[in-house]
């Protein structure tokens, strides 16, 4: 404890965890003699999307988690709040992704508390990139792939919403308009591209209600062909999770607002 309160590691929470043996990098290869986890089908969570609109950035995710053909869970939360202005949305293996989100959340808070200042947006983006890179061993083994979206509000300059998606190895790509990952993402990208190009208004000019409609339609479209995407379960009244990041922080849209919008513009 406090062994190294100087130097770069001082504000690095994952380094602290490693020092205490609480966080390990994913092993690169299966040990010799072990045929590897070929028979094991990990649980997957799928289809998340985010786009910028007039009210900031909207992040949405369906609720389904699957393993192979099996629906494991229909109330999964893939849109995770990391701090007051940041959201990490996850597609991929929840076991790895939730742990990653937990490390990231604690890292940002730890940095803020020890260094007495907020971490920069670039710092946050890089921190998630590093966690993905540490997970590379699992990616190679094909059992722990996580492909997140990271959205945040940047107070630097005049202030603006920022949106990134990642690949499984940790490369981050900043996008100007929209991002989607997960098994249903090809359909979602199609819908978002179409709306942005030929819709009534481009995405960044949409108001909140119209933005919700686009998000719901995109997820519904993905669910139509992709069994791993939950879409909307009207019988059980399970709706996607939709959150909005603006200058004022994060707002979670209540189910009844999403339900009303769904009934009037999607169903």
């Amino acid at each position: 404890m406090t062994k190294d309160s100087l130097g770069a590691a001082a504000s690095d929470f994952p380094a602290l965890l490693r020092q205490h043996g609480l966080l390990n990098e994913a092993a690169l290869w299966p040990p010799a003699g072990n045929p590897g986890p070929t028979a094991f089908t990990p649980t997957q969570a799928t289809t998340i999307l985010a786009f910028k609109f007039t009210g900031g950035v909207l992040v949405a995710g369906d609720r389904r988690a699957t393993a192979g053909n099996t629906v494991v869970y229909d109330r999964a939360d893939k849109v995770l709040e990391i701090d007051r202005h940041s959201i990490m949305a996850i597609a991929g293996v929840p076991a790895t992704a939730w742990e990653m989100a937990r490390v990231l959340e604690h890292s940002l808070q730890y940095f803020r508390r020890t260094q007495l200042q907020e971490m920069s947006v670039d710092g946050k983006v890089r921190a998630l990139s590093k966690l993905l890179r540490d997970n590379f061993g699992f990616v190679v083994q094909g059992i722990g792939v996580v492909v997140p979206i990271f959205a945040t509000y940047d107070f630097a300059g005049e202030g603006q919403a920022r949106l990134y998606f990642y690949d499984a190895m940790g490369a981050q790509f900043e996008v100007a308009e929209y991002a989607a990952t997960g098994s249903g993402s090809p359909a979602v990208r199609g819908v978002l591209f179409y709306e942005n190009r030929w819709g009534k208004k481009p995405l960044h000019k949409l108001g909140e209600q119209d933005a919700v409609t686009v998000a719901l339609r995109a997820l519904d479209t993905a669910a139509e062909a992709d069994t791993a995407t939950g879409g909307v379960d009207r019988n059980a009244r399970i709706f996607p999770i939709i959150k909005v990041i603006s200058r004022d922080g994060i707002k979670t849209l209540p189910d009844r607002q999403i339900a009303a919008r769904f009934n009037s513009t999607v169903a």
Binding site: L16, R113, L116
Partner: protein, 259 residues
């Protein structure tokens, strides 16, 4: 030689005297419960003296900045690793202070060949109601006092640290008379400023009377504030976020303390 028991006791006594002398000019800190949370207040010149430790825990400290920094880092590390491996609900101020910080401080203090920590700290953890708030005063030798004096039958809902025992005593007397845990933030700020002022006076005038008038306290404050500023932090009782600590801005303080 220091190996002889008598010499050791003497060395410890010297060390205590030395530390007390070093801490004596420190600007006092008051922490008190009010209806919507816990208020930390002090007056300082350049460096920050109030810190967030974890979601519901904050600290204030006087002493050497280097030592305060080491203890602050230790507290944040402990709380963060605990909160990460278990849950935020498992992070408890009581455990942090009694089972982690206290032994660390005691060991450093009693190893007469090493340097002790030059710091006196006040910790608070906000609860669901003012009665659930916890205050702990942690000394450089690892001693821990709960809020108020031992004579208090029930927890008084505040805790203070001053550079000297006399200053602390005067602040506690004032708060025992005037503090009310169900008050508003505005009222709490007023009482906290008065408490700080009486503690501040005691730094220069050990013979300061039992019960200085409001006017005397105000004059003391005005004099000090010419070259220093009020620093205040809040642990809020309710909120949608798990993180309950926030610093009060200069504008907010100005608005709340004027009139």
């Amino acid at each position: 030689m220091i190996e002889e028991p008598y010499r050791w006791v003497e060395a410890i006594a010297n060390r205590r005297e030395y530390i007390e002398t070093q801490l004596a000019p420190g600007s006092p800190i008051a922490a008190l419960s009010f209806r919507d949370g816990i208020l930390f207040l002090t007056v300082g010149r350049a460096r920050q003296k109030l810190f967030e430790i974890y979601d519901r825990i904050a600290m204030g400290a006087i002493g050497h900045p280097g030592d305060i920094e080491r203890l602050r880092m230790a507290a944040i590390e402990l709380a963060s690793t605990e909160g990460f491996t278990r849950s935020a609900a498992d992070v408890s101020l009581r455990r942090l202070a009694f089972y982690s910080l206290s032994p660390l401080l005691k060991t450093a203090f009693e190893q007469v060949y090493g340097a002790p920590y030059l710091a006196r700290m006040i910790f608070a953890e906000v609860g669901a109601t003012p009665a659930d708030d916890l205050f702990l005063r942690v000394e450089y030798d690892g001693a821990i006092a709960a809020a108020g004096s031992a004579a208090d039958a029930k927890p008084p809902g505040f805790s203070v640290i001053g550079g000297t025992a006399r200053g602390t005593e005067l602040m506690e007397e004032l708060l025992r008379r005037e503090h009310d845990s169900s008050s508003t933030l505005k009222a709490a700020l007023k009482v906290a400023l008065d408490a700080w002022s009486v503690g501040s006076m005691a730094r220069r005038e050990p013979a300061v009377g039992e019960n200085p008038s409001r006017e005397t306290l105000r004059q003391e404050r005005e004099k000090e504030l010419q070259s220093a500023t009020v620093e205040a932090g809040l642990l809020e009782r309710a909120g949608t976020s798990a993180i309950r600590y926030r610093q009060m801005s200069a504008e907010e303080l100005q608005e709340m303390t004027s009139a």
